[in-house]
Amino acid sequence: MLDATDRALINRLQEGLPLTSAPFDGIASELSITVDDLLARLERMKEIGAITRFGPFFDAAAMGGAFCLCAMAVPQTQFERVTEQVNAFAQVAHNYQREHRLNMWFVLATETPEGIAEAADAIERETGIAVLRFPKLQEFFVGFRVAA
């Protein structure tokens, strides 16, 4: 599905794109490919879902907003319905199913700190299931890089 160059490209692009007029030039020459080839690979990997996003990652908190990790214990028989209900909230940035009694874990991203409680409360009302809230108290931040 992905060749060695695709993987090298993902690894390289996890480190960040420069803020220049032709930001791919240096990366393409590092990988010994043309910029056109690089863009075609990127386009294809987006299409097949190997990359979910390409661009700036905004920090909601730095813009006056907030993030919060939340978890719910969803009965198996209701899982699909609750998934639809939760995902319908624009504030839900991502949502994962996990193997645990708390089997649905999602991140709320809102434009104001108060938006977190509003969204979590609204999800509780709509689904009838408690939403546990785990805001970050401290981040132990090193890097994002995952070897492709």
Partner: protein
């Protein structure tokens, strides 16, 4: 200033266009000279509004199918020091201190670990356990089985939004 940071965020929240000169394309759509957009983006990066401009890989599609959220109950007095050590491990992609939700949830340190197999992830979990030692009174691992949604930040108030 007519073009606000919010306009810039709105224009970029769906991602950058995959073209040779992506910033010029975005600048044109905002009616801004490219140099101005680049300068504004530099400021946003310096102040932390933009954490980085990069690609987000889909671990599942890359064969990293084992994705475990390891969670640990660590003494409050030691969590900053030990959390920093855990966060520094090369295979830990995100690590946070979060509040407990007692009695259901005694864990206050979260560390995300990816691998191609669960065995691989378990070995990494053991390395974390070795660092924490008896200061961690309990731990668990929650494997993800499905991505239900992944869109990133979306602004809701005014301004156009691009879709992924």
């Amino acid at each position: 200033m007519s073009v606000t940071d919010r306009d810039i965020v709105s224009a970029l929240q769906g991602g950058l266009p995959m073209v040779a000169a992506p910033y010029a394309a975005v600048a044109a759509s905002l009616g801004l000279p490219e140099e101005d957009l680049l300068a504004r983006l530099e400021d946003m990066q310096a102040t932390g509004v933009i954490r980085r401009i990069a690609v987000a890989p889909n671990h599942f599609k890359l064969g990293m199918t084992a994705n475990g959220m390891t969670v640990w109950d660590v003494e409050d007095a030691r969590v900053a020091e030990l959390g920093a050590q855990v966060g520094a491990l090369p295979f830990v992609t995100h690590s946070y201190e979060r509040p407990r939700a007692l009695p259901d949830w005694p864990y206050n340190l979260f560390a995300m670990v990816h691998g191609t197999t669960r065995d691989q992830v378990e070995k990494k979990r053991q390395q974390i356990a070795a660092i924490l030692g008896p200061v961690s009174r309990a731990n668990d691992i929650l494997y993800s089985t499905r991505i239900l949604k992944k869109t990133g930040l979306r602004l809701r108030r005014k301004g156009p939004t691009c879709s992924d």
